[in-house]
Symmetry: C2
Subunit: 227 residues, 2 copies
């Protein structure tokens, strides 16, 4: 059974959807993945990627499917964020949407879209245009959760390339948390957590001293007080 077979019934009967908020860093700016809707009444408006679940997949599988369709990525950090179920969040029918939350390294990543959408792109989280449904609210909530996650877990690995410098890591933290951090204290704290291991290489990027590259020892999500 395909998604399109649902949703043709009584508009008061709830339909179950999954949406995904995918975040990445581009030019040390936090961005979210949006798609351009074709269907009325939101034609031309941008929204989070998502859709009705299929009858033979779990919610999480639906979220992974959505993510893979748009980004081609399979093994990324993904977790359930919240389920939005207000009566009039979708003007056309009763829709319950479980929103997932993904973090991605966009380096060399090609976005693809399906017939369903008229476009796809990364949008800065600051000053977002008007979005369809209640998606503006959803993104605000997701950003809050992302900030919390950065401070209390090791998920930052999912935003960065495999190997990265401590300054890159610090910049990621700074641009998402929206505040400057002390270089010495940051490095001391991060290294003392023993989450990182030197990659054994240097990054030579310009006319200045090269930086040591590090990797996360594990890419399993764990809870640690980082800051």
């Amino acid at each position: 059974m395909t998604p399109s077979e649902f949703g043709t019934l009584d508009p008061r009967i709830p339909v179950v959807a999954v949406d995904v908020t995918v975040f990445t860093l581009l030019g040390s700016e936090l961005r979210v993945l949006l798609v351009r809707v074709k269907k009325r009444p939101y034609t031309g408006v941008w929204a989070l990627p998502g859709g009705i679940i299929c009858s033979d997949e779990s919610l999480e599988e639906a979220a992974y499917r959505e993510l893979a369709e748009k980004t081609g990525l399979k093994s990324v950090y993904l977790e359930q964020l919240f389920t939005f179920g207000d009566v009039n969040r979708d003007k056309t029918r009763r829709a319950i949407s479980t929103v997932y939350f993904a973090l991605v390294n966009a380096e060399g990543l090609e976005l693809k879209t399906t017939e369903k959408y008229a476009g796809i792109g990364w949008f800065p989280v600051k000053k977002l245009l008007r979005l369809a449904y209640d998606h503006a609210k959803v993104i605000r909530y997701a950003v809050k959760r992302l900030r919390w996650k950065l401070e209390y877990t090791n998920v930052a690995w999912s935003l960065l390339p495999r190997a990265f410098t401590l300054t890159e890591l610090q910049t990621a933290y700074e641009s998402i948390l929206g505040k400057k951090l002390d270089k010495r204290n940051f490095r001391k704290k991060i290294l003392s957590l023993r989450l990182l291991t030197p990659a054994g290489k240097m990054k030579h990027s310009a006319a200045h001293r090269p930086a040591e590259l590090y990797r996360f020892k594990t890419r399993k999500p764990i809870i640690v007080k980082v800051l």
Copy 2:
């Protein structure tokens, strides 16, 4: 439209339910509210209270309705916990269930049940019997969240009577976290947070020095590192 009008369709079409994990302290033991199912194939088995949502209520309203039906309580602490959507979690049909999480003071509270159930009661969270659906898993997850909430927020007020002694508060923490706490450090920390205000009364409970009664200054949920 009433809930019973749903669920008569194709069993592969997802139906949206809300379940509630209601916790309380009875005899300084953590307990959860369970109801006894009548319907096959879970006849006689205990489960979390819950049901299909109505077409004109939000998820949260459905959770409040469920809670009020069973406990008569209206203004309690309630928040969304998680949405469970595995394909075979309900043997009879595809059911997506958003689970809410409530904390209640059970003092002088009368449990009521509806036609739908064969019984209702408070069950110790330790050594639970077999439960219907995936509700054992749901409760384990909810207990984890409860422990986190106690350590990082002020929600403890919702488990206690309006006025309580510091020892009662400490006992609540100890029985939920499952460990002893140091009396002096606990009191020092709690009072330094300035969440409590003396109720101006004493609790005379037996042949020993009476204890000062306190109240929470606010019953709005806030995030504070308590322990």
